[in-house]
């Protein structure tokens, strides 16, 4: 049987019922099928080959550990994507937490009065909701996408510049500085006051 001719889902089905060696042969075909795709994605996101190799290895290790929970209701490629994205983003966010973002120094907050309604008596959930609305309404769409990719998904600026094919001189950094300034103008004082007491959970 030429395993290369089987679909992802057929290979998984065989893994479920085959003996160890046959199951491993199916898994090897399945994983190799996605090595280049995951490698390219990790390279694009991490920006360097060593980091990408570490990420890709972590992805397939996690996939192998959790394959038993894959139940063929979604496509294997979709499930693989959720695992890949989760690992890459968690790693990016964790790395950002460990490092001081140089933009934190450059983009120092401006002492501007918050807009009406954004004061400290407003409930936290309402502020978070307004923060989302401000991302969609007050920022340029590209600024908002860059901020989201950097701050929420934890992607490096160089990776965002590549991903979005930004051709301006400073790439994603310019959008971060501009978008941040707008958000800080609106929410800066409130966030600073809240941050002095607690961080969002």
């Amino acid at each position: 049987m030429d395993l290369d001719r089987l679909s992802d889902e057929e290979l998984i089905e065989r893994v479920r019922h085959a003996a160890d060696a046959a199951a491993d042969a199916c898994l090897a075909v399945l994983y190799r099928r996605y090595y280049p795709k995951v490698a390219a994605w990790c390279l694009r996101i991490s920006g360097d080959r060593q980091g990408a190799a570490d990420l890709a290895q972590e992805v397939f290790l996690r996939v192998h550990e959790r394959l038993g929970s894959f139940r063929s209701e979604s496509r294997f490629s979709t499930w693989l994507y959720t695992v890949t994205r989760s690992i890459v983003i968690n790693r990016g966010v964790a790395a950002r937490r460990r490092q001081m973002d140089p933009l934190d120094e450059e983009g120092a907050p401006e002492p501007v009065e918050p807009a009406p309604g954004a004061d400290e008596v407003v409930a936290r959930d309402q502020i978070l909701s307004e923060l989302r609305q401000a991302m969609e309404r007050d920022l340029e769409p590209l600024e908002a996408r860059v901020l989201y990719l950097h701050y929420v998904d934890g992607l490096e600026l160089a990776a965002i510049t590549d991903l979005l094919k930004l051709e301006n001189k400073s790439g994603a950094k310019a959008y971060i500085v501009g978008g941040r300034r707008k958000l800080e103008r609106r929410f800066g004082r409130w966030l600073a006051r809240q941050s002095a007491g607690r961080t969002p959970s």
Binding site: D24, Y31, P36, R44, S69, E73, T78, P109, L128, F187
Partner: protein
């Protein structure tokens, strides 16, 4: 700004607040689809796909997720990275495959052996005890491996009630016609409360609640956030009067079929 002045400067962890703003209702309240939905967009009916695209056009978070999904969905060459780099990463993956014929997972990163000092007498005693333990445990493991083959993974649920665990999940199970508004299971004797959890396939919890008896109706904002052609999981636990768990269901997967 001098980094030394940082403690006195207003601290604005914008990333923390942005993450909180988007995590608070990821995939649910704001009507945002789960990130993998953009990977499944091709399989959606034209109307569903148009709505997904329209949402991404006005939602920067989803526009960003769509960018990431498109990058993954494209051929490796579309990522515009050098073929040499791809080969390097693939080479590392090939060299450290998690698959071994034993079916064991092999850790990827093995720390380089460091030069160790000569063990002291007490260290030698410890090593002797450790060696004896390894022999005993290893013998047990070999005996276990000599038994008939390990049971295969359970077959996937394809519909109908699931009798996994100790609670029978009734609906939704497998492919269903409509996005569900409630979750149903067979009551368990002695249960005073049921804790129900709905999650995405990557185990992100979308909703969790407790009810005194089945069914558990999904909050409107949660139900509105569920999408066709996307799989979800749910589990239910039975709790006794003291709040202790007395039974639990298997994770149950369901998916609303794409609109015709």
């Amino acid at each position: 700004m001098n980094p030394n002045d940082r403690e006195n400067a207003p601290n604005l962890p914008l990333d923390e607040w942005l993450r909180a703003a988007y995590a608070a209702d990821e995939g649910t309240a704001a009507g945002c689809p789960p990130p993998e939905a953009f990977l499944e967009a091709e399989a959606l009916a034209p109307e569903e796909r148009r709505r997904l695209d329209e949402h991404a056009e006005r939602c920067p978070a989803c526009a960003a997720e769509r960018d990431l999904a498109r990058l993954f969905a494209g051929a490796p060459g579309a990522a515009e990275v050098s073929g040499e780099d791809v080969d390097f990463v693939v080479g590392r993956l090939e060299a450290a495959s998690p698959i071994r014929s034993s079916g064991q997972v092999v850790p990827f990163r093995v720390p380089a052996p460091a030069a160790k000092p000569e063990p002291r007498r007490s260290d030698r005693q410890i090593w002797k005890i450790a060696a004896a333990l390894i022999l005993v445990l290893g013998g047990g493991l070999l005996f276990r491996l000599a038994q008939p083959g390990a049971p295969p993974l359970p077959p996937p649920a394809v519909g109908g009630p699931v009798r996994g665990g100790e609670i029978e999940a009734v609906s939704p199970v497998g492919d269903v016609g409509e996005v569900p508004l409630e979750l149903r299971w067979t009551p368990r004797e002695g249960a005073r409360l049921y804790r129900v959890r709905l999650s995405a396939v990557d185990d992100t919890v979308l909703w969790e609640g407790t009810v005194p008896a089945p069914p558990a109706r999904l909050p409107d904002e949660v139900a509105r956030g569920l999408h066709r052609a996307v799989s979800y999981l749910w589990t239910v636990e039975a709790l006794d009067a003291s709040g202790a768990r007395i039974a639990i269901s298997e994770p149950v997967r369901f998916r609303a079929r794409p609109a015709p």
